[in-house]
């Protein structure tokens, strides 16, 4: 399972790396030319090279997803850790977390991206702003379970500060849990960014996989000829592979995490 996940991750990750190196796609080629010499994956309706779009698009999509995922998880750790460690904060913070969690994320993202400037930075901020509650909710009970543990009590008796104990002595024990949460958040961030771009709600000058899909779907000829083969399939498959890679590694991780599931595999 691990190997399959790695194989799936190979394509999006190499696209990400190429995104740093390759120049941005420019409309200098004949439009809708099929894959072959000159353009490895052909060109789109305005004559931009698909492959370089795919590479720089991967940089946006994976970059936004990863940044949003890391930020959301970090913020969730902070809130969840504080709520789990200090009993006085527990009720209030839990209520607040549940409140934000009840808000439907996707429609809200669409709404917010209408009103904010559609650049990647804002996408990261909005995604992180509504992504943290799920990791806070996962971490809190685990932290409060470790609150009374021996090594925590010893650290406390040596006058260590609360935040120090949380980040140095409690959270490292929850690494697998946090890793799963991080992967989930990254996956959601990538999917949400692609979704927004697919609806045409992101900056049209910043290439991303969703934008490629949006432009392909907007063009009336895409599905009338063989054009969808190289305008629709590559970005769709790139995203599919990225999602698959994350989901498969989640699957293996969850098996190791949950003792009930672990018994299942042996």
């Amino acid at each position: 399972m691990r190997i399959v996940a790695l194989l799936c991750a190979l394509v999006p990750l190499s696209l990400l790396l190429l995104g740093f190196v390759l120049p941005r796609a420019e409309a200098i080629h004949p439009p809708f030319s099929p894959p072959g010499r000159g353009n490895l994956l052909g060109t789109d309706d305005v004559g931009q090279d698909i492959f370089s779009q795919l590479a720089s698009g991967g940089l946006t999509t994976i970059g936004v997803g990863a940044a949003a995922g890391v930020l959301a998880t970090l913020f969730g750790l902070l809130v969840g850790g504080a709520a789990g460690y200090w009993p006085r904060l527990e009720t209030g913070l839990t209520r607040f977390t549940d409140l934000i969690l009840t808000f439907p994320r996707l429609p809200l993202l669409v709404l917010l991206s209408l009103y904010l400037k559609p650049n990647p930075l804002n996408a990261v901020v909005v995604l992180a702003l509504f992504g943290w509650p799920s990791s806070a909710r996962t971490v809190r009970p685990a932290v409060s379970g470790l609150r009374e543990a021996g090594h925590v009590q010893i650290a406390k008796s040596m006058n260590a500060s609360g935040l120090y104990i949380i980040f140095r002595h409690i959270l490292p024990q929850l690494t697998p849990l946090i890793l799963v949460q991080l992967l989930l958040e990254i996956r959601f961030g990538m999917v949400a960014q692609t979704g927004l771009a697919f609806l045409g709600l992101t900056d049209p000058s910043v290439p991303s996989w969703g934008l490629m899909l949006f432009q392909a779907f907007r063009h009336p000829q895409t599905f009338l000829g063989p054009y969808w083969l190289w305008t629709v399939l590559p970005p769709a498959l790139a995203l599919a592979l990225a999602v698959l890679a994350l989901s498969l590694s989640l699957l293996t991780d969850e098996r190791q995490l949950d003792p009930r599931l672990r018994r299942e595999t042996t």
């Binding site: 429609p107 629709v232 769709a236 995203l239």
Partner: protein, 318 residues
């Protein structure tokens, strides 16, 4: 009873928060509500006096809190405002589109629930068999796919490579029923496929949780036939949390169906929203999002109330 009102009150608070978010976001956004243009273009088009008269007409010269209370009072009368592009009341514009979205969800939801539920049940009862693990893996992957990706792959497969169904689901006035139904097949199946994995995992998890408990072993030890054990003991214990989760998923699906609709150009709320966005029709945008958020919150509230009603365990805890 106290719990009931506390839950309702919490959701009223959430709804109020959604309302104010909707209101203040629009006012904080750059550009003027009069034109959607920036200030310099506005100055070129209107004289100072004209601009002020227009602002007074729409109540835009009032302080924000007053505007907010006006907005709130207007909404409480069920008045969503006037669409600028269609030049009709928003509620009137939205209604047919909302009906079509509800139809799409309704048609896809039931098969997904039944098939996903049945597979999940089978899976839980055949726990640890090799085929069950493959099924589980497949469903986990299916469930992790975003709805628009499922829709795009389905479109490519069943409308382009094998042109069995029409790729575009636009509805025209002259179409017969069979034509309309044919055009709904792909969006409905994309939606159903997306939900299928979710229901499968839910039912499987819920069943497995019950299966490991002592009263099931006891029922089996009594020599009850397997059918009775499954129907009367497992199902009965597994069902209450499932009902609530189902309501929750129904609420969430309003978000996912948005993307599926736009893949197939299905004339539901999503395409209306995209039109409204393209025409900078703020009252219509506001109306659609209030409706969507309201729908989701309503289903969440339903889920919370159902849990309280059907699951005795939560009542003890309260």
């Amino acid at each position: 009873m106290f719990r009931f009102w506390a839950t309702v009150l919490q959701y009223l608070g959430l709804a109020l928060l959604a309302l104010s978010l909707n209101f203040f976001l629009l006012r904080l956004a750059p550009g003027s509500p009069l034109s959607g243009l920036d200030q310099s273009e506005l100055d070129a088009a209107l004289s100072q006096q004209q601009e002020e008269r227009l602002k007074a007409h729409y109540g835009l010269d009032l302080p924000l809190p007053v505007q907010f209370s006006h907005y709130f009072l207007r909404l409480s009368r069920g008045d969503l405002g006037q669409s600028l592009y269609f030049n009709q009341p928003v509620a009137q514009v939205v209604w047919p589109y909302l009906q079509r979205t509800l139809l799409l969800i309704g048609l896809g939801f039931l098969p997904a629930l039944l098939i996903g539920g049945a597979l999940g049940m089978l899976s839980a009862l055949n726990h640890r068999k090799p085929w069950e693990r493959w099924l589980l893996g497949g469903m986990v992957l299916l469930q992790s796919f975003p709805p628009f990706l499922i829709a795009i792959l389905l479109l490519v497969l069943l409308a382009v490579v094998f042109p069995i169904f029409p790729a575009v689901s636009t509805m025209l006035p002259g179409q017969g029923l069979s034509d309309r139904l044919e055009r709904m097949v792909l969006p409905v199946s994309a939606y159903a496929l997306w939900e299928l994995g979710l229901f499968y995992l839910l039912v499987r998890g819920s069943f497995l949780g019950v299966l490991g408990q002592e009263f099931i072993s006891y029922a089996r030890a009594k020599g009850l036939p397997e059918r009775t054990v499954v129907l009367r003991h497992i199902l009965r214990a597994a069902l209450p949390p499932l009902i609530a989760r189902t309501a929750l998923i129904l609420g969430v699906s309003f978000g996912g169906v948005f993307f599926i609709e736009s893949v197939f150009s299905y004339p539901g709320l999503a395409s209306l929203a995209l039109t409204a966005i393209a025409r900078v029709d703020y009252p219509l945008i506001e109306g659609i999002f209030l409706l969507t958020l309201g729908m989701i919150l309503l289903f969440n509230l339903l889920a919370d109330l159902l849990v309280a009603r059907f699951d005795p365990r939560t009542q003890e805890a309260a």
